[in-house]
């Protein structure tokens, strides 16, 4: 694609127009106030150490860096099932269907995988031990002397701990996370907890991505008296997929139990679906993958027209023409006669012209748009693009006819040059 400076200047104008010239007046007023307030604040003179201190400092730094490098990636020893199973860093671990599997690390730390649990010990070094939980539950008893960072990753979440005992339960199928801390403290990181959510002993966090519920409960201490019957925390089940269900009874129990909302959770606004968030961030290919993981057919049949438009844009921008076509056709099918449907007709024309390289279909879609919305906002562009598509498809007579219509209706229009060319073919 050869592009001249004029084309980039037009792009620059479009971007500049979209951006505007700066923040709103309220922000500028605040900037002005801050400039005035800090205008002549004294700047502290930096202290400079004597040369001998600098030399010693450098030597100490070099020694520290060398020591750090030496320690950085030393492997940490561990055994699986008391040595009965192979222990390989990076290897997958699968607990048998009816019994747990223990991973014992040096210094006495233990990870116990519940029956049927699967995951990967992605890293096991003196710097960090990372366990990626695919499905099931893992209980950890950390006896670290602070050398390693111990973490369990589950879906989009990460639980980080030192010197603690906790259980992480994750159901990939149900998109349900449960973190219960029996001793010490962990930090839960993930897209819902931007700066990390601390969880201390006696607390349990649950995240249900399907119903978009996030809640925090207290759990009784191990040596506390047996809880009174009633709406207490449900028991942890052996088979995560079958029993880790955010059933209505469980949800009701959670509400009436001693549930305390952490300030960070108190917002409980609806979480945006991942694919929408990825769209907003411009990660179109990833958004599409996420939407497909959610179930594209279901989305096509149940999502709102706005969501489908967003999905169609993501597919177009990710160059997934076939998916974009499906989504645009779903909009037309489910919302006939609406402005969104008519825009989809136009976009199907562009899609076939620009990505699917089918000028015949493109010409037909533009023609259909002009029938559906002859005075619509995209009519001029549809007619202009139809001229181009007809020429590409070697339908020269149709191109001429469209060109003559264009020149009559839109003198001086953006496709005038093209139309004049086509009229003379």
């Amino acid at each position: 694609m050869k592009v001249d400076l004029k084309a980039w200047e037009r792009l620059g104008n479009a971007v500049a127009e979209e951006l505007g010239t700066g923040p709103d007046p309220a922000r500028r007023a605040r900037q002005r106030q801050l400039v005035r307030e800090h205008a002549f604040a004294p700047v502290p003179t930096p202290w400079r150490p004597p040369r001998w201190a600098l030399a010693m400092g450098m030597a100490a730094t070099v020694a520290l860096v060398c020591g750090w490098l030496a320690m950085r990636s030393s492997p940490i020893a561990f055994s699986v099932d008391s040595g009965a199973a192979p222990a390989r860093p990076g290897g997958w671990l699968l607990a048998p269907a009816r019994q747990p599997l223990a991973v014992d690390f040096e210094e006495g730390t233990r990870y116990e995988l519940e029956a049927g649990t699967s995951g990967q010990l992605a890293e096991a070094s003196t710097r960090r031990v990372r366990f990626v939980l695919s499905n099931g539950a893992v209980s950890a008893q950390i006896r670290s002397k602070g050398r390693s960072q111990w973490s369990v990753e589950a879906g989009a979440y990460r639980v980080v701990a030192t010197g603690t005992e906790f259980t992480v339960r994750w159901s990939a199928q149900k998109a349900f996370l449960q973190v219960a801390v029996t001793s010490g403290k962990v930090i839960v990181e993930g897209e819902d907890f931007e700066s990390g959510l601390p969880l201390s002993a006696g607390h349990e966090l649950t995240v249900d991505q399907r119903t978009r519920q996030v809640s925090l409960h207290t759990i009784p201490a191990p040596d506390a008296p047996a809880p009174a019957p009633g709406p207490d925390l449900p028991e942890v089940a052996a088979n995560p997929d079958q029993d880790l269900e955010p059933a209505p009874a469980r949800a009701a129990a959670a509400k009436t139990a001693d549930a305390r909302r952490h300030p960070k959770l108190a917002q409980t606004k609806r979480m945006d679906s991942d694919w929408r968030r990825l769209c907003a961030a411009g990660a179109y290919a990833e958004a599409l993958e996420e939407a497909e993981r959610d179930g594209l057919e279901e989305l096509l049949g149940s999502a709102s027209s706005e969501d489908l438009q967003l999905l169609a844009d993501a597919a177009r921008f990710a160059n997934e023409g076939a998916t974009a076509r499906r989504v645009l056709q779903a909009i037309r099918r489910r919302f006939p006669g609406t402005p969104q449907a008519r825009t989809s007709t136009f976009l199907l024309g562009r899609l076939h012209a620009e990505q699917l390289h089918d000028p015949t279909a493109a010409a037909d879609w533009f023609s259909r748009y002009l029938q559906e919305d002859p005075a619509g906002p995209l009519a001029e562009e549809a007619l202009g693009r139809r001229i181009d598509a007809c020429r590409q498809a070697d339908r020269l007579a149709e191109a001429r006819e469209a060109a003559e219509r264009y020149l009559a209706r839109y003198p001086g229009g953006i496709f005038e040059v093209l139309a004049k060319d086509a009229a003379n073919d």
């Binding site: 694609m1 592009v3 400076l5 084309a7 980039w8 200047e9 037009r10 792009l11 620059g12 479009a14 971007v15 500049a16 127009e17 979209e18 951006l19 505007g20 010239t21 700066g22 923040p23 922000r27 500028r28 605040r30 900037q31 002005r32 801050l34 400039v35 005035r36 800090h38 205008a39 002549f40 700047v43 968030r277 907003a280 961030a281 411009g282 179109y284 844009d313 177009r316 921008f317 990710a318 160059n319 562009r350 620009e354 990505q355 202009g384 181009d388 953006i414 496709f415 040059v417 093209l418």
Partner: protein, 199 residues
């Protein structure tokens, strides 16, 4: 125009502002902001694409200006001097971000603050900046001054404090790199293709 012609600037004269700043008068700081604030905001806003750290960077421009006003010999060149400080701050920021990206220390920000007046143009602007950040800091600045601010080559050279030949070289490299990147970008290549018939 990046810098107004002498005598055409807004508000107080540069002489009284500089004189007030030498005397440590806070009103002079406000007057400096009134004179240069819009220009600084616009430059930072467009160089970095309505960045979340915009206000901090604008503030830094004025902090640097106030700290170094004693080095300004000719008050007539106040406006050009502020532009130069602004571009230096932006350049430093772009280089730091590039290094953070190389070292994978950067965290991608999910939301751009600019409003979604037109979803397709919003996407266009986002793609524009995501490609722009793959250029060097000097190329980004030259490219943005030329394309978004509409500066002539001589203005770009003056603002970047380099020779005309250097400015031309940076711009050529920026154009070549950006064109190459845009060819494989679906949003920008579609946009260009859809406008190839415009004269």
């Amino acid at each position: 125009m990046l810098v107004p012609a002498p005598g055409c600037g807004e508000g107080e004269s540069p002489y009284s502002i500089v004189d007030g700043l030498h005397r440590g008068d806070p009103n002079a700081a406000s007057a400096l902001f009134d004179r240069a604030g819009e220009r600084v905001n616009r430059l930072v806003w467009r160089m970095l694409g309505a960045d979340p750290e915009h206000d901090d960077l604008v503030h830094q421009v004025f902090v640097d200006a106030l700290a170094n006003v004693h080095k300004l010999r000719d008050p007539e060149s106040l406006d050009r001097w502020i532009v130069s400080i602004t571009l230096n701050i932006v350049r430093k920021e772009l280089r730091t971000r590039r290094l953070r990206r190389l070292l994978r220390l950067d965290v991608e920000d999910a939301d751009a603050p600019s409003p979604e007046l037109d979803p397709e143009r919003h996407m266009l602007a986002r793609r524009f900046y995501s490609l722009l950040e793959q250029l060097s800091a000097d190329e980004q600045i030259a490219f943005t001054l030329r394309l978004l601010e509409g500066c002539a080559l001589a203005e770009v050279a003056a603002a970047c404090e380099c020779s005309l030949a250097t400015a031309k070289r940076r711009l050529s490299r920026a154009l070549a790199s950006f064109t190459r990147l845009a060819q494989v970008d679906p949003v920008l290549s579609c946009w260009i293709a859809s406008r190839r018939h415009e004269g």
